[in-house]
């Protein structure tokens, strides 16, 4: 495993985003118990790995993370971004949970945000699409994953005390 193929825009942006995302994770008022926080952080990372190593590698191979198909240190840092993202997604869902039809519009908005972030990532060369893949294709992935995440959260919410 190499550290990085070339230390430039994508690596600098990843470091800044990691700082901001983990800063938000630690600065937001603590809402959930520690195990729920850990669970949904690992949840995001595992779904990131699952999709990227399924459609982003192997025989499907729609994209490259960072500068090369080889594993780099910054690839791991990229996946670590999924932990605070997943936590923040659940955090604000809980904030808006009492609103009507929140399940529909929250997931739709966050999926659009996901596509926007992924488009920005292509500009920053953090993600490099190939074989005809376009960021909009990920809209289906975001809708699916976020729906599963909320349904799972609701299930956990109904069985456990999730609040600190």
């Amino acid at each position: 495993m190499t550290l990085w193929a070339g230390f430039d825009t994508n690596e600098i942006c990843l470091l800044i985003m990691l700082l901001l995302a983990y800063g938000a994770l630690f600065l937001l008022p603590k809402k959930f118990t520690r195990d729920i926080t850990l669970l949904f952080s690992v949840w995001g990372v595992s779904f990131g790995f699952l999709f990227d190593f399924t459609i982003g590698g192997g025989i499907i191979n729609f994209y490259i993370i960072n500068d090369s198909p080889d594993y780099e240190l910054f690839d791991i840092l990229y996946y670590l971004l999924f932990a605070p993202s997943s936590y923040i997604f659940i955090y604000f869902y809980e904030v808006f949970r009492s609103y009507k039809n929140v399940f529909l519009w929250y997931i739709a908005i966050f999926s659009l945000v996901g596509v926007g972030v992924q488009t920005a990532f292509t500009w920053l060369e953090i993600i490099n699409f190939k074989n005809g893949y376009q960021p909009l294709f990920s809209f289906a992935v975001f809708l699916t994953i976020q729906s599963i995440t909320i349904l799972y959260f609701e299930f956990i919410y109904s069985k456990f005390n999730v609040y600190k």
């Binding site: 118990t33 520690r34 669970l39 949840w43 990372v45 025989i59 069985k159």
Partner: protein
């Protein structure tokens, strides 16, 4: 044949897991599943793609069998044995789990899903044994970090 066999294995182990009485809570089961999934995906990538110790098939349906083994069968077997360890002999449960995993590895070689170029089942056995240890310590971690008493489902 490869796709049907591994789809059946995935269906069987998942259904068996869902139907069995569980000793771990859903939070614990999910957490351990996720940790094993992350490790197994990374391990697979390093061994298959980076080190090229094992060559994977390039046929779509057979490749799907590999994805089922990597992302469903192995993590579910690991959490299933963790639920059984609590009520049976630990060595026996881990041994049976290891035998099933090694059988599936052999089957993936027989059915041309993977070609063990610079690899053998002994390395797989060591890796699977380490996965069992990681699964156990992941469970300890989520239990330790929990703020409240564990409620079993």
């Amino acid at each position: 044949m490869a796709f049907a066999s591994f789809f059946f294995a995935a269906w069987f182990i998942t259904t068996a897991f869902l139907m069995m009485p569980k000793k771990l809570s859903i939070i614990e089961n999910t957490f351990v599943f996720m940790v094993i999934l992350i490790i197994n995906i990374n391990w697979g990538w390093i061994v298959y793609e980076s080190m090229e110790r094992i060559e994977l098939t390039e046929e779509g349906m057979i490749y799907t069998a590999f994805l089922l083994l990597r992302s469903v069968i192995i993590p579910v077997i690991l959490i299933t044995q963790l639920n059984l360890v609590h009520k049976s002999n630990m060595i026996f449960v881990v041994l049976v789990s290891l035998i099933i995993l090694l059988f599936l590895s052999s089957l993936s070689a027989i059915l041309n899903i993977a070609d063990y170029v610079k690899w053998n089942l002994g390395f797989d056995a060591i890796y699977y044994l380490l996965l069992h240890v990681i699964a156990y310590y992941s469970l300890l971690l989520i239990r330790k970090i929990a703020d409240r008493e564990v409620t079993y489902t």
